[in-house]
Amino acid sequence: MTASEPRFEATLDPDALESLLARIDPDGVDFDGLRLEPAGGGEYDLVTPETTRRAVSPADLADAEPPVPAYLTNWRYWQDVGGEGTARRAFLRWCERAPRPEPETETETTPRDDREPLPVPERYAALEDGIDREWGQLRITPRLADDPETASGERVYDLTHRVDAGRDPADLEIQDEPRDARRIATEDGDGRYRPLKTAPTLVSGWAFVGLSGAELVETVDTFYPATIANWHRELRGDLDVDHWRETADRQTGMYADVADLPRETVEWMAEACCVDSQCLKRREWEYAPDDELEVEGGDGPFPCREPCSLVVAAARTWTDLEQEPERTYELELTPSEVRQLEALIDAVAEGRTDEIREADVADGANRYRARYLRAKRFDEDGLDVREVSTAETDGESGE
């Protein structure tokens, strides 16, 4: 099949048409630009943005010129998807840039789709080759099924890592079923466990091909759990955000103390953990409902509605650490060594240590440079520093 012969033209066979007509209820159809109303005597009034035809017989419908078959099979497909009002349906429609259902609750803060919705004829033309959408590091490609057995207008969905967009599918490892996503999502490229599913460390090189809509949703939900549900809530204007204070106050047991974390440290924590380079969720939680954090929440399509378990667990460590009073220390460093400390911290914070070349001793975070600094400035107790002031709250350990 070539791209110049849209496949929907040829495939509205009599059986498909019969099953379509059987579904039309007495009130007719009004869906995605198609209006079809029973006109009595087994005939129908047909209206699309392109065509108006009164009292059409089923035989005429079967022979209708494009894009009428596209409208008809589009309606049928979405009837089969079902799930009116569910996140699953809304997500599948987003995937192919179908119009949103009802923007009834749309407000200033409802996230905009970065792509315009496509009317049916344009959408079908685009679905011939597949429509690409990005969801975090995932690339989702709905397309018209090329299996002649499936009803015309049936969609299937391909799913890959977005960096594999241009790659020959033969180079990718084809996966069998949605739960294969679990294994792919478990470790990063260095074989380290990924406790945060939305960390931007998903490995590439795999592909899910020809998934059904339900399978696609299951697979995406395995890679990025609950992102579809929360995205949908946000779309409908009922995302229930729990800000830091509410989340912290709810904790009990070993996490009860995180409620003591000072406000400014919550700011640092969000900068450390939640920015796009660390997590693809768009942070919507703030310190408190009327007390926003300064750090950017990110640009991802799916929201983060409350501090996750990883951040709460890390907060517990910071709660302990931040209880220590500050002190003043004295140590000898050259100006370059100060720069080098900065370079070391930066390299670790940006996860860059693996990229520093073995012999690149000009880079302060180079291993030889770090070993040299340790040889020079550490004694058996570590860094050779002297405490010159002791915090008033802590009178015991001064010199």
Partner: protein
Amino acid sequence: MQALVVAAHGSHLNPDASDPAYAHADAVRERGAFDEVREAFWKEEPHFREVLRTLESDEVFVVPLFISEGYFTERVIPRELRLEGWEPDLWDSDGTSATHATLEAEDVGKTVHYCGPVGTHDAMTDVIVRRAESVTGDPEVGEGFGLAVVGHGTERNENSAKAIEYHADRVRDRERFDEVRALFMDEEPEVDDVTDYFESRDVVLVPLFVADGYHTREDIPEDVGLTDDYRRGWDVPADVDGHRVWYAGAVGTEGLLADVLLERAIDAGADVDVDIDAAVDPDSTAEGAGTPPESEPESGKERTLEAGGGET
């Protein structure tokens, strides 16, 4: 539509901690007993907090993959699921007798049948016995054998010990094994002294833990004397003070546990049309979660896990 949610601890540090939850959920999925089956976690995703909104079903059966009633099952899970009006009294339990309570989840308006943990269900006794059968390779094992059910003890709460004793009593009542004991890691009678508590030459040790982790792969094997260094592994059976100790690994990795999940949901009113006994493959164990006895357990990195995360 009805859904089953398997609520487990999970871990930020150890990917294996969630294997049993996935394996048992998959086993339930394959039987097609529920319209939807989901895993949910305290330390992984989807979190308890967000699992219900991923379901289209209006009726949800939540079964904690935990060994005992206590902090997690009574406080953390119901709070995070936002079960309106929950209090532990609704279970009307003596510490091992919770069945379920039916509540509404505030954020999603779904009906949630919140079940007691798998660990205290009567069917768990069968799982313990099955574990003894599989580790000895003898479906008739019993005569001439002692069996020890091993647990944490009071580390978190007294119900933890109660669950161990409950099943030890039930195994004993079957009069299948010559001797049956409940042993603990952090209280008397201690598992370290296992050979003092048995006269039988052969003793099967079944740890009542959900997942294999440092307690089951490191502490118990060394404390019992199966090995000097868990990294080198141990024999099954291992000779300890003239006894032959058959160490089974965490009971939570036993394939039969999927049935306990189903039983919990059925007890809570789930409309499930499966023949539980016929559906079980007697040789199955939770894939990837069992520790082959001769294998070398992993390094001790996970020791830094907070509060024994993943082993509950």
